[in-house]
Amino acid sequence: MKKELAIKLNNVHKSYFLANGDEVPVLKGINLEIKNGEFVALMGESGGGKTTLLNIIGVLHPLSSGEYYLDGENIGEVQDDFTLAYIRNKKMGFVFQQFNLYLRLTALKNISLPALYAGQERQVREKKAMELMESVGIKNRAEYKPTELSGGQQQRVSICRSLINDPEILLADEPTGALDSKSGLEIMKIFSDLKKRGKTIIMVTHTSEVAKYADRVIFLRDGKVVDNDYKLTSHY
């Protein structure tokens, strides 16, 4: 049975260590809860730790201390590569500001890559990839390489990639940050569409225009949550 809470963080701390051994505390006791099916925006001043937090949620980073419940299970201390790779592969989809696509591979191959790591047959994963591309209107760009695509198209490719293994949670770090406002808007339409289809979405953004699409906004300042239920007037 599905738990109501998708993600719960309890007093999460995260420090970086510089080459000279100095400790840089970035997250200083984060508490937050995100329900299944929620669309949450993360905002805050630059350098406030939004990316760091998102990377922790996406298990790209270990946390320094605290508890991280994913589907009710504390995975804060999991270090096993198999489990972490499984979570990144199957449970979460990541969308980056800089797209992070393989420049050597076509859109189709880029999108199917996570399914390859999941051990899916080629026909199955490429069929799924084509369906996803169709749903975001870039089906005719399947054989293009990222360098032959516009920014908005590249971001749609990376959204398709994040969806190929049907994860429940989507993590997006400034997905519109590198796009003009028109393409940004189109990307946000895709996200609200995904929200309607039941995905849990956590998105970092700087602009309230973009944050409007979210159910609520969580504000970070100096490594702490200062407001976790800020509402902006929604577009719909």
């Binding site: 590569d81 499984y86 990144r88 050597r104 994040s162």
Partner: protein, 399 residues
């Protein structure tokens, strides 16, 4: 999945043709060196073995040696062989060989030919076979018959066209000798004796009628068993000293060498050559491995971002490791393959140009190829391992 990873590896190698080729070059040279070296080394061993064929470890060779300062010639005589055979307890067989050269003529043709005065069992002991005619008998030796057997090449030198040789005569020092047989081709052989270029007469005839004091005497003794070679040497030495009436203070007027240690030494030096050349090849391979490691580090550094992406979308450490490892193995395997072709080509060329005796063995290619795969795994592992342990966020940030 595995196939896809291999395909990706090959694609990325193909995408960097020049670098791929340069890093392969080390492996190619290394593997072809191994193959050439093993071929040449084994060839040398083989040619040593061939040279010494028929010379068993339990034979002793005695030659005349004139002691320094003394003017007198050696007292070694062909007949010493029978004396030794009679008196020495450890010697089971003894034959003498009288060597020299003399002008031989047939009609108007004449040539200086190597003459070998032999015992009746010389052909048997040396494994020489007759193409036609018959061999020299004990009676021929006792009665110093003027009979001669021709070595394979001398026929051509002395006679024109196809003639029935047996029964014909040749002239040596104004005397007529009857040809009683012709030898098969022997090929290369040990020592200064080239049987194909020699003619054979009874040793008594050679010593007394043809060569006289010019004769170079060589006794060939067989020791009953190999363990006794040393005692036999001492025994024979004592017998000959007595026979030659040497004073206790006088040096030997003969030299005894045993074939076993001669063969052993030659084999050892051939083996040493193989070992040395192999060591050179191993160093070349090692250096090429370091080259591969270097290239893999560069590749990993170049693709740090890709590694970060792969991990962010769910690649396991194992996936990353195997991808890079496969790449370096593919690099070295393909290099090894070309190395085999090049190495075999070099051997073929050496053989074709008759530079050296070559042994084609499967050992060379097998060793060379497995070495190249091992080099790929061994030197590719560390860079691949480092790549697989990269932190995804750091990797995404790094260029």
């Amino acid at each position: 999945m595995f196939l896809e990873i291999i395909k990706m590896s090959i694609e990325s190698l193909w995408g960097n043709k020049i670098r791929t080729f340069l890093s392969m070059l080390g492996i190619i040279i290394g593997v072809s060196t191994v193959i050439a070296v093993v071929g040449i080394g084994k060839g040398a061993e083989q040619s040593v073995n061939e040279q010494f064929q028929g010379l068993s470890a339990n034979s002793l060779i005695i030659m005349s040696s004139r002691s320094r300062g003394s003017t007198g010639s050696s007292n070694l005589k062909a007949s010493d062989a029978s004396v030794v055979k009679e008196k020495a307890e450890y010697i089971t067989e003894a034959t003498s060989l009288v060597r020299g050269s003399e002008t031989v003529s047939v009609g108007k043709e004449s040539a200086n030919v190597s003459i070998l005065g032999i015992d009746h069992n010389y052909f048997d002991v040396s494994n020489y076979t007759l193409k036609e005619g018959e061999s020299i008998t004990e009676e021929d030796i006792d009665s110093r018959e003027k009979k001669v057997i021709l070595g394979f090449n001398t026929v051509e030198n002395l006679f024109e066209g196809d003639v029935d040789l047996v029964g014909q005569n040749i002239t040596i020092k104004g005397k007529s000798y009857e040809i009683i047989g012709v030898l098969d081709e022997i090929g290369s052989s040990f020592g200064p004796v080239v049987p194909d270029d020699s003619i054979f007469v009874p040793y008594t005839t050679a010593e007394k009628s043809i060569l006289g004091t010019k004769a170079f005497i060589l006794l060939n003794l067989t020791v009953g068993s190999v363990e006794n070679v040393e005692v036999a040497t001492q025994e024979v030495s004592a017998i000959l000293r007595e026979e030659h009436k040497l004073k206790a203070s006088a040096d030997d007027d003969f030299r005894i060498s045993d074939a076993g240690s001669m063969v052993g030494a030659a084999q050892e030096s051939a083996q040493l050559m193989t070992v040395l050349l192999t060591a050179v090849a191993a160093i070349v391979l090692l250096v090429s491995g370091i080259g591969i490691m270097n290239v893999m580090f560069v590749t990993v550094a170049e693709r740090t971002r890709e590694i970060g992406i792969a991990k962010a979308i769910g690649a396991k450490q194992f996936d990353v490791l195997s991808q890079f490892l496969l790449e370096s193995v593919a690099l070295s395997t393909i290099g090894g393959f070309f190395g085999i072709i090049l190495g075999l080509g070099a051997l073929y060329l050496i053989n074709y140009l008759n530079i050296m005796l070559i042994a084609y063995t499967v050992i060379g290619p097998i060793v060379g190829f497995s070495f190249s795969v091992i080099v790929g795994v061994f030197f590719g592992f560390y860079p691949a391992f480092k790549a697989s342990r990269l932190d995804p966020v750091d990797a995404l940030r790094g260029e």
